[in-house]
Amino acid sequence: MGSHAREAKEFQELAVPLLTSLYNHAQWLARDPVEAEDLVQETLTKALRAFNSFEPGTNFKAWIFRILRNTFLTSRTAIANARTVYLEDHPDVLEVAESGLTPEAEVIKLNDLAALRTALEQLAPHLREVILLCDLEELKYREIAAVLDVPIGTVMSRLARARQNLRQILKSKSGGSL
């Protein structure tokens, strides 16, 4: 097998198991199934073209998710949201507030996955993105920082903010009874 054939095969072995995750993440980003498929197709094409720049031994998932994100950022949907300013990236301006939920009440509320999914949909996109990369895709902080092109401290503050907001949304959904 030639080097190009080996390269293509290696790419296939790394990329194909991630297709479902890439599609899921793309749809969370784009909020549209057709655009999500286009995003993943374009991501795969770009990743294959740039595969010789991937460093063996590093996390391929983080590498291709970064390409997916950068591809999304050039899409019409992302450009429309490009002027958003995230106060969460300035912790001196905005502190994380307590949700008011007791930990026990949170555990009870989390049994309702439909409510949690609705809460995820209501999160600000940049907060949803970081929590998906951490909790669902199980990337490390430094890998998330590379995907998002932000410092690790920003990853941590966004995660804290995302989780706090999820709790607050869940609380509001329950009519503030929790």
Binding site: M1, G2, H4, A5, E7, A8, F11, Q12, E13, A15, V16, P17, L19, T20, L22, Y23, N24, Q27, W28, P33, A36, E37, V40, Q41, L44, T45, L48, R49, F51, V96, T102, P103, E104, E106, V107, L110, N111, L113, A114, L116, R117, L120, I131, L132, C134, D135, L136, K140, Y141, M156, S157, L159, A160, R163, Q164, L166, R167
Partner: protein, 248 residues
């Protein structure tokens, strides 16, 4: 860490397994003594777990997955040309030509259906550029090679138990519909046959009637699905699949 309680970022780092070295001792010590923070860590772990489950919301359809898989399988740009074909496989070459016209060269771009994907995989095995990972007629070599590569195991009959003039020539790991699949390569007389062994049921997505001179044959046994494709006559392909299915 504050003097009284852990910061939200620190609680997050605990459940994410991302504590800094300096916190690796201090934070567990604090949690041993602070009931409120310990409860917050438990709740944060529950939130993380529930978020993971709730966020897995958008599964691609079989057709979308097949299209994406086809894109992932595309050769690098320099390989996106007509593949070299062994002259002795003129029958297959002719069939490839027919397919290329019939499907607009789709096998070099994207397959729109799973049957096209499987047919593409079979045709790829016929080119010199894609020799299989395992070139062996010995089942004792081929079967162990898959250990650790597939989430299932399967049996291969002895050479003497295969149908007449049928031989195992190699194997490869591939992906069908995004799932890891064993690809077994056989010759039947001078024809090549590919047999895809997987746990999934792909037959409902495959046009079993065949395409452009190629036949499909399906067998199920031992929780596995065996899908064969070849340009040999359908009766002999069926015999091979029945033989392999009986071994599971």
């Amino acid at each position: 860490m504050s003097a009284d309680h852990l910061l939200p970022e620190t609680i997050g780092a605990v459940v994410d397994g991302e504590l800094s070295r300096e916190d690796e001792v201090a934070v567990p010590a604090h949690l041993n003594e602070c009931h409120a923070c310990a409860l917050k860590v438990i709740a944060a772990g529950q939130l993380k777990s529930a978020t993971s489950r709730a966020a897995r919301s958008f599964a691609p359809s079989q057709e979308v997955l097949a299209r994406l898989t086809a894109v992932a399988r595309q050769a690098p740009p320099r390989r996106a040309t007509v593949v070299p074909i062994r002259t002795i496989k003129w029958t297959a070459a002719a069939a490839m030509f027919v397919l290329a016209i019939a499907f607009g060269g789709r096998m070099l771009r994207q397959s729109e259906t799973l049957s096209a994907e499987i047919l593409d995989e079979h045709l790829a095995t016929l080119s010199d550029a894609a020799s299989p990972e395992v070139l062996s007629s010995d089942r004792h070599t081929v079967k162990p090679w898959f250990q650790g590569k597939l989430p299932f195991s399967f049996n291969i009959p002895e050479q003497s138990a295969l149908p007449a003039d049928t031989a195992l020539i190699g194997a490869d790991l591939t992906y069908v519909n995004g799932k890891p699949t064993a690809l077994l390569l056989f010759t039947i007389h001078k024809h090549h046959a590919s047999v895809f062994v997987s746990q999934q049921q792909v037959s409902e997505f495959v046009h079993m009637s065949g395409r452009s001179g190629f036949h499909f044959s399906l067998g199920r046994g031992g929780g596995l699905e065996l899908l064969g494709v070849s340009d040999v006559n359908s009766a002999e392909l069926d015999a091979l699949i029945a033989n392999l299915t009986a071994a599971q």
